[in-house]
Symmetry: C2
Subunit: 202 residues, 2 copies
């Protein structure tokens, strides 16, 4: 079998290193770009450089922000409710919650979860920064919005214990059936949590 | 809803313009790269530039090749059978056939198919170059390996008519059940072609 020309193989390899992109998709993308106008690959190339050069973390909440503005739009906004803090694992989670348009408080991005197996402890996350933030500000409610996974739950439990001494309402996102989901196809744990969390109809 | 910082949004948009990558995958890839070592996005960025700068088309078969070698490895190889020519739509098809390791002849890449609806006629494909190649060389067999789609079939028919005057064996790839496939789930047309193309067992 003949191999691909080196520049083509190189792009296939570079695409293959991205999550969810296998060798087949990588060659499909590569050959698409070979045929497409040069502007398309040039744009993508420049955006890839920009993503590292022009972005940084917000000094308050550690969400992704423009490098030249040290504080993100949400932390800087005067329209946000400064008494509620939502703690999430990753910047993408902020985006997901913002898209619901159902939350108007502030965020704190941990940049990971506790994971003893992978050797990730509290000092590897933005937890020290969280304590400092809680000391300086007057929050009324903390929403622990880590993922409903083993690590996410453990991280929420850890934070709950540490923060329970403070005069704060501490909440966790509800677990239950997804909207539009099918009871029949729900996994056992989800159904169990949906039962346990059942609510009164008034 | 807050928007993403400009450099982040730009990369999401650039990824979204690739085929098969929707807005969700685009943000997942972007946020992955934000967290990943800079080397990953730098590599991809450079490979994207290289794909246009360092590649060209082989002057003989029009497959993708290194810009500095004007003739591709397959056309230059002395191990290949120079009496058989396989005509394909795209460079990716060459790769697919090479992977089978079941073909040792030469290729000719049309760079598309005839498509009256999209206004693509014979002059938009490498068909004139194919005629010239057939004049200059002494092929014994032409394999029409365009896709078994409406356009691919029409292109094969067109070429068959044009080439039938020449002293050449003209063949088309077999149609039938895919290996490992299930007769029960095969579509009607495939099954019809598998029946029509049935072969003697000796």
């Amino acid at each position: 079998m003949r191999t691909l020309p080196e520049p083509v193989q190189r792009l296939v390899d570079a695409f293959s290193r991205l999550p969810g992109i296998g060798p087949k998709t990588a060659s499909r993308l590569t050959f698409y770009l070979l045929r497409a106008p040069e502007e398309l690959s040039k744009n993508l190339s420049e955006a890839l450089i920009g993503i590292k050069q022009d972005t940084g973390l917000c000094e308050i909440c550690f969400n992704i922000t423009n490098k030249d503005t040290k504080i993100c739009e949400i932390c800087a906004s005067e329209q946000r409710d400064r008494s509620t803090l939502c703690i999430v694992e990753e910047p993408l989670d902020v985006l997901a919650i913002e898209k619901t348009a159902g939350y108007n408080g502030l965020y704190h991005v941990l940049h990971g979860v506790l994971s003893p197996i992978e050797g990730i402890g509290p000092e590897d996350l933005k937890i020290k920064e969280l304590y400092e933030r809680l000391k300086k500000n007057d929050f009324k409610e903390i929403i622990l919005a880590t993922n409903p996974s083993m690590e996410g739950d453990a991280t929420a439990m850890y934070l709950h214990e540490r923060l329970s001494g403070l005069d704060l309402r501490i909440t966790r996102l509800a677990l239950g059936l997804p909207v539009g989901g099918d009871l029949e196809y729900a996994d056992q744990n989800t159904l169990l949590r949906a039962l346990a969390g059942r609510q009164n109809l008034d």
